[in-house]
């Protein structure tokens, strides 16, 4: 199974038990899975009555807000809450457990009040004195020996590993026909979950508490919350009915949960603490930036002979993440050094495929530059240096779809001020599961079917495929099955990170469904001429054997009063790891304004058995669209002197909108015949950034090596005719 260690995926072997039960069967033989199923929570969501954490409103509930430090580095010398605590409606004010603050936006205090407006008043009435300390917020400044230290006595630059033999790599460069050397930089970007981080802690002084959380891990909260509340872990129930986006940023109790617990404990009232949008930008984490110095040598025939890589992970106070180069390519003798370079910014945290889009952007840019240098077609050049042949068919298919044959091999060679160009890139991910999910399927005597597991649906379609797996196994329709998820009192489930949910959950659901079918079969066998349980067919709402047939209702009428319940466990043989994806992009660059307009994007993705084609395509679209933001528009802007983020709002931090949408073509690679479930969410966000920047180069001849590719960089490149790197 895949594990991400410091952003670099590691392989862990899993033993597969061949006798663990029936499998999924061929991918083209399903009645519900691998079809286009509308999501079961859709009707609730479109009518506005799906209840999210942010929508919870409990009797006597207090609203909490967080006071943030405005300085990038400071010591809190005094906090005066006198005036604030006198405001009618203010019920509690607590101080955050920090005396030295290392980023602007760090929490200093939190208040709970009877309305959100009063909570805001209280924040403004708290007086904090700070001793302001020197700070550094830009990587190029932080790396200087005389830079202010982010943590006293520690270097801002921390070595994290060296791989390969530098002498061997150096020698191999001598055999190259061409060498490309460049610095690739990606900005820190934000998750921008529309539902901000937050929780409602419902503790009223008794022996139990309930926490409504916007989280990717129903089971990642209770232990820490219990400690804060002075309860046992099992006395804390966590509920995640619906959640409004996470993208890797929502695991555990978090600061917001900790403060909400403390306020709730102090006031013995339910407390709702949802970050404001500003909080979300400055406190809720971000995708780490990257700064990569790459040098590669290539022979005329397209063989890459050497790579030297120096990679800086820009994770603020955190370690950052960045997959090691040469990422997925073969590059002969390689040598790399990886460093964490710290600044006075909040820590980066996991974001959809942590560390991978950054590495992919750099290496795919480099690949493109090498291809131009030796005048090889970028698609053929990639094939030559890729390990896995699955990419060959994907490259060919997506190339046809985008119309690669239209591509002008001369970058910027098309006439006129609006120049179109094409680019491509390749990505990979693990997407295997692990043994954490416990699923119960109950068939009642009245025919109703319930599938229960504590997992969470992030908008990925978890509810829908959970139902579909059970319905298909029992020969029913989606509507005949009801799912209960999102509650820590239900069967355990893994947190949704690393594309592990589908491959962890669906085998357990399948296992429970198969067992429920067998239990049913044994019960109804006497009604079907004592047929053998495994010969009884469940299809089309009927249970049949040997020419005899019972309706579902007739069959379930034979069950005991309590119905039957089966318990499902994870089966390694029902999932697999390793996905492949290829993205092609077409853009139009206005060489008079530097404006880049995305025209079309194609992404082809494999993933074993597609549980639901409709939602899988939506996820592929999502990967492309989020990549568009990273490539062209998004980036945190920090002020060197104030040490603050200058664009902490949706008015200034540009996420993709409806007007910028290109034509998007999400393709499912059905040539993947693996009868196994594999997670695809991260795989389909990785290559698109590379495809876009390469398309920009093909369009106008400007190689922008620093994200986002804004008009100023295009114009600068056009005026100088050289590569653009600014750090």
């Amino acid at each position: 199974m895949p594990r991400v260690v410091n952003g670099v995926e590691q392989m862990v072997e899993i033993e597969v038990d061949a006798d663990s039960g029936p499998g999924w069967g061929p991918n083209d033989k399903h009645t519900l899975l691998n079809q286009r199923l509308t999501r079961v929570d859709g009707p609730l969501k479109v009518a506005g009555i799906a209840r999210y954490t942010y929508d919870q409103r409990l009797p006597g509930m207090l609203y909490a807000r967080v006071l943030r430090c405005p300085h990038a580095h400071a010591r809190v010398t005094s906090v005066d809450i006198d005036a604030a605590s006198k405001i009618p409606g203010v019920k509690a004010i607590i101080q955050a457990p920090l005396t030295e603050v290392r980023f602007a936006g760090a929490p200093v205090a939190a208040v709970a009040a009877t309305t959100p407006e009063i909570a805001g008043d209280a924040l403004r009435a708290i007086k904090v004195n700070y001793e302001v300390l020197p700070h550094v917020v830009h990587a190029h400044a932080a790396i200087r020996p005389d830079a202010p230290k982010v943590v006293a006595e520690e270097n801002n630059l921390q070595e994290k590993g060296k791989n390969g033999d530098p002498q061997k790599a150096e020698a191999a460069f001598a055999t190259a026909d061409a060498i490309v050397e460049g610095e690739y930089i990606s900005a820190r970007i934000h998750h921008v979950c529309l539902e901000t981080h937050g929780m409602v802690v419902d503790y009223r002084g008794g022996d139990t508490a309930t926490i409504y959380a916007s989280t990717q891990g129903t089971f990642t909260i209770a232990a820490d919350a219990a400690k804060e509340l002075g309860l046992t872990e099992s006395a804390v129930t966590v509920s995640v009915e619906h959640m409004g986006g996470g993208f890797g940023s929502k695991f555990g109790l978090g600061l917001e949960g900790m403060l909400a617990c403390r306020l709730s404990k102090q006031t013995k009232s339910p407390v709702k603490l949802m970050f404001t949008r500003y909080d979300e930008f400055v406190m809720a984490g971000n995708r780490s930036g990257s700064w990569q110095k790459l040098k590669a040598g290539v022979k005329k025939d397209g063989t890459i002979v050497a790579l030297n890589a120096r990679q800086y992970r820009l994770g603020g106070l955190g370690q950052g993440s960045q997959a090691g180069q040469p990422y997925i390519y073969r590059m002969g003798d390689t040598y790399r050094e990886i460093y964490a370079l710290h600044t006075n910014e909040d820590s980066s945290i996991a974001m959809r495929a942590p560390g991978h889009p950054q590495a992919s952007f750099a290496v795919e840019s480099l690949m493109d530059e090498l291809a131009y240098k030796i005048k090889l077609d970028p698609v053929e050049f990639r094939k030559k240096n890729l390990r896995d042949e699955v990419y060959y068919r994907q490259l060919d298919r997506a190339a046809r779809e985008i119309g690669w044959s239209r591509r002008n091999p001369i970058a910027g060679g098309n006439a006129g001020p609006l120049k179109r160009g094409l680019g491509c890139a390749v990505g990979t991910w693990g997407g295997g599961g692990n043994n954490q999910c416990k699923v119960d399927v109950t068939i009642a005597r009245d025919g109703s079917v319930d599938v229960a597991v504590g997992t969470q649906d992030l908008g990925t379609g978890t509810r829908t495929y959970t139902r579909a797996i059970v319905a298909e196994e029992l020969g029913l329709t989606i509507k005949d099955v009801k799912e209960r998820i999102g509650n820590s009192k239900l069967g355990a489930a893994n947190p949704s990170g690393g594309s592990t949910t589908a491959p962890s959950l669906s085998p357990s659901v399948k296992d429970a469904a198969i067992k429920a079918r067998m239990l049913m079969a044994e019960r109804v066998a006497p009604l079907l001429g004592n047929a053998k349980a495994e010969e009884i067919v469940f299809a089309g709402g009927k249970v049949s054997a040997g020419g005899q047939s019972l309706s579902w209702q007739q069959a379930t009428a034979s069950l005991p009063a309590a119905g039957i319940t089966s318990h499902g466990e994870w089966r390694a043989d029902l999932q697999a790891r390793g996905v492949h994806g290829v993205c092609f992009a077409e853009v139009e660059v206005d060489v008079e304004t530097g404006h880049v307009k995305p025209i079309k994007m194609v992404h082809i993705q494999d993933g074993g058995l597609p549980l639901n084609r409709l939602t899988m395509e939506s996820q592929i679209n999502g990967g492309m669209i989020q990549s568009l933001g990273m490539a062209l528009w998004e980036g945190r802007v920090m002020d060197a002197h104030l040490g603050m983020m200058l664009n902490p709002g949706l008015g200034d931090y540009k996420v993709p909108g409806s007007l910028e949408m290109p034509e998007l073509v999400p393709l499912i690679d059905d040539d993947d015949k693996r009868e196994a479930v594999i997670g695809i969410a991260e795989g389909c966000i990785i290559p698109a950034v590379g495809a876009l920047v390469n398309a920009v180069f093909n369009a106008c001849g400007v190689r922008v090596r620093e994200l986002p590719v804004t008009p100023d960089k295009i114009l600068m490149g056009l005026s100088k005719g050289t590569q653009i790197t600014q750090i």
């Binding site: 969501k45 506005g48 529309l194 949706l650 998007l664």
Partner: protein, 212 residues
Amino acid sequence: MTKSRDDREDQKHNPGRRKFLKGVGIAGAGAAIADHLWTEAEAQEKPGTPTTLSGNVKITLDVNGSPRDVQVEPRTTLLNALRNHLEPAVTGPKLVCDVGTCGACTVLLDGKPAYSCLVLAVDAVDRKVTTVEGLGSPESPNAVQAAFVEHDALMCGFCTPGFVTTISAYLKQNPNPTLAEVREACKGNFCRCGTYPRVFEAALAAAKSTAG
């Protein structure tokens, strides 16, 4: 807007614009005077005292066709009134940015889309407020809601009420839009999961289904 604000008579339910803006000014002035504000608020209700509206105000909002009594401060936004002051709450419109940049809180005011985070609750008195809940239900969705489900125009669903509301209003105004017009109509709504292409598909399909 159906009538000018000067037409409003009932002081209690129809705070004039000038008056409540003063109230906002005081409330927004912040910490230093917060204590005074509250004492002032209590003294406020004296009849004949000139002008400044502050403290709690009782208003009646017309939400999805029902009169809803609610106590708000003059500075309370319509969005906050719906979500945090009405009992029971109306939580279809989502709080995402609270400053009019994302569209998740979109409601219809007299049939026209408005960011409810930019409208004061006291300014919504005498106007018909329609939220996404008022457009249809899971059992009986309107054409846009049904098309959103059919075309998978949602993932996490947090932006969905805003899109559904915006598009439902737009199709009334333009029942047969082009793709370009749909994109233009949605430009005030953000989605992060990446549903735009299917939002467009759903809007066009809804237009088609109602046209027949």
